[in-house]
């Protein structure tokens, strides 16, 4: 059985895995990282989206062996020092979730979307999140949340004025 090493939310794991094992099952069943849910088996819903080496990937469509040597960030690794990521805050503020099942994947996809387009229009958000399905919100508040998250992230990136000595 192949042996892989993978870093998940900052912790390095070495695992023997069947070649057919899906990354999402490695995360959930082997590593106990159950914050990433599974919503379909065709890669359509995006609930299982994680960051794989910094880009969003649907972990139901990636084999664990393909993640060998990779860095994976799940929703559980997003908050830093007890402080939520701005996108997590934005989803909360805009009531961009109801049952919350799609939320981890939606937040991951949203963060990745902003890498290419830090200030997306409503239309760009709608197109950019096409691969993540939500059945509760009708998407209006998700679109608002992503735009709020973008604004807050870009504010955080603004160079801080250096106080005069």
């Amino acid at each position: 059985m192949p042996r892989i090493t993978v870093t998940v939310d900052g912790v390095a794991y070495e695992e023997e895995v069947e070649p057919r094992l899906l990354l999402v099952h490695l995360l959930r069943d082997r590593l106990g990282k159950v914050g990433t849910p599974i919503g379909c088996d065709t890669g359509n819903c995006g609930a299982c989206t994680v960051m794989l080496d910094g880009r969003s990937a649907k972990s139901c469509s990636v084999l664990a062996v393909q993640a060998d040597g990779s860095d994976v960030v799940t929703i559980e690794g997003l908050a830093q020092g007890g402080e939520w990521h701005p996108m997590q805050k934005a989803f909360h503020t805009e009531h961009a979730l109801q049952c919350g099942y799609c939320t981890p994947g939606m937040i991951m996809a949203a963060i990745d979307l902003l890498r290419d387009d830090p200030d997306p229009s409503e239309e760009a958000v709608r197109q950019g999140l096409e691969g993540n399905l939500c059945r509760c919100t009708g998407y209006c508040t998700i679109v608002r949340a992503v735009r709020r998250g973008a604004a807050e992230m870009s504010q955080a990136r603004e160079p801080q004025e250096v106080p005069a000595p």
Partner: protein, 842 residues
Amino acid sequence: MSEQLDAGLIAERIAESGELGEPTGAREVGRARRRKEDARLVTGRTTWTDNIQLPGMLYVAFLRSPMAHARITRVDASAARVQPGVVAVYTGADFADEQGSLPCAWPVTEDIVIPDHPPMAVSEVRYAGEAVACVVATDRYKAADALEAIEVDYEPLDAVTDMTEALTEGSPKVHESGNRAFTWKFAGGDIDAAFRDAPVVIERTYVQQRLIPTAMEPRAVVATTDGDDFTLYSATQIPHVLRVMLALTTGIPEHKLRVVAPDVGGGFGSKLQVTAEEVLGLLITRRLGKPVKWTESRSEGNLTVHHGRDQLQRISLAADRDGHIRGVRVDLLADMGAYLMLVTPGIPILGAFMYSGIYKVDAYDFTCTGVFTTKMPTDAYRGAGRPEATFAIERAVDELAHELGLDPIEVRRRNWITHEEFPYTTVCGLTYDSGNYEAATERALALFGYDKLRAEQADRRERQDPVQLGIGVSTYTEMCGLAPSRVLGSLSYGAGGWEHATVRMLPTGKVEVVTGTSPHGQGHETAWSQIVADALGVPFDDVAVLHGDTAVSHKGMDTYGSRSLVVGGVAVLAACEKVKDKARQLAAHMLEASADDIEFTGGSFTVRGTSEGRTIQELALATFAAHDLPDGVEPGLDADATFDPDNFSFPHGTHLCAIEVDTETGRPTIRSYVAVDDVGSVVNPLIVEGQVHGGIAQGVAQALFEEAVHDAEGNLLTTTMADYLIPSAADLPDFTTDRTETPATSNPLGVKGVGEAGTIASTPAVVNAIVDALRPYGVRDVRMPCTPERIWRVLAEAGPAAPGPGGSTASASTSTSGPAPAPVAGQPPAPMSAPAAEGGAR
């Protein structure tokens, strides 16, 4: 001398520790509170059922019938049993003696046929996806592998997927008794008089296509036992009802069975069920003595989660030339699928009361035939009967407007119940307690820019623009807050409609609320906290809400039908009132005053005219210490309450949709959507808006995207999310939503319920808009879902017709008819329910 521990000292210590919360004084009800639930959901710290991992747990996988209808002649599981990791393989025959029959709790007529429904098929399968065997193995992959080694010999039988065909003589029989499950009739007023010499009669047949609810969380079950006691974790909307039903089905005594609904990822009615997998999970854990888990894949779920809608509606309106609707006649075929599940027969019956909509109608006549077909059973799906009814009446009223050359809004104005006329008892026997259709409509028209859009529509017609504009309206009401137990009893519903709550103050002054409702995205923890914060004068953050576990929340009727706030939220308020009554007695005792002289404001009980008082938190501690209680008062500050309202609630509203239809490609694009809903008083506007948004999306999806498609052999063709199109963000517009507030009079919160409103209203608004766009081409209907292909075909069949300002189909004929009505089987109808006027559902 050791420090004596007394209540005063404890209070001081709690106060010093900063634990005693101060109420903010601001009213919580009505405030757009961010949700308490979100913290665990945005960080991934949830307990979805599939997250539960128990020591030594085994995985269950089901072998499902690849055929819609077949006799099982042989099942050979020997090769599967010896596969690595396989612990057990069971066939239907293995469980034949103990698996019982999945329950149907709503026998709508006395002569209804309720076929035996084994959780695993024993000798015959009746829909594709029915379980015939299962594997229990050490991991999910091994369980799936072993399924392939099970050999089943099927002797194919003819499938029947079409209701009309199923009722035709000589059709394949789904059950020996035939394909008619029941016929249910209901009437009010003199329907013959209404139609006799009616100047205008509109007859239409509408297809409510079959839908797959598609909650984002697939179903999952974890069952465990320690030999005598059983625990079932399930992604269910109804842990309390489920426990009763499972006890009756499996023979596990109710007091030995705990049912837990952990975090549940959406339901929309699809988790309002007692499923084969829940029953079998318990049976398997009982056999093996080990915990077992089953999680459905999406493709398995599309086959086996109960489906929604699937009705053929023939509706007739009799009207005067001025547009006054005299009578409504409905002849409905409702597809039950192969079996009757928990409330399958009741879904069209709920709808029966809503066909008169918001209108004053003189006479009504309704007949529903429940039909068996070789398809997955239908059951509750968001709105459950009411979206179907609203669609038919709102489409038909548009047709009436067109027939008379009137604006669709004008026809509604001429028929609706006016604000002054409430309470109003409808021809269906319901008493609508309050409403203001005028206000909601005026607001919606203004937000929408109705006149301007009509002008643009005329211009596009004039210019023969290939992209035509359609405007659709839907003015709806619904009955929700299910609810009055005695009315449900009169409809043969198998349970009551009350709801339960416990409110208990903890010694430190915090509050725990136990609710019988079982949320799956509705935000009860937040809304219930708001209600309690106001009622008891405690801080919002000092309230915790417990739910979804029969060991914690010992009784309830769970969450469906927009009943949680309307019934359960009011039960919480009632429990708070009882807590306050007790606290008042105690305060009177401690302050040496008469209870009549005690005032309660801002969380404190004070003696009238003095500043002397006790906060409710101090009283909670005093009842815990119980050192000095008045005679006859028990320790503890807590109370149970149930609420059983004496009427349903009736949210209403006006939805308007503008759609651009490309007549060359058939593509419809929603240009704008405005919803003004009246859901009575609002506890949390954020949650209300979210529910409306989601509801609209789901109703739009029925209009434009979704349909469960079967081939002639009964195979489901839309088994995955690649085939069954639920809309993404890119498929939907931003919705403009607003509210009017006309409080309900049937409960002290004045709330009406909101979970289904958007779904009920939006489907007819969208289809009315599409038909409106295409009227100049002679189009009178487009069958749902109105896909580009379907629109294109309808246009092609309509032939070339030049659009003009008024449309080309304005007609002086007094009668139009839709497609031929479906024949109804020749069995005699069941005895009619009492006429509405003589006390049907009220």
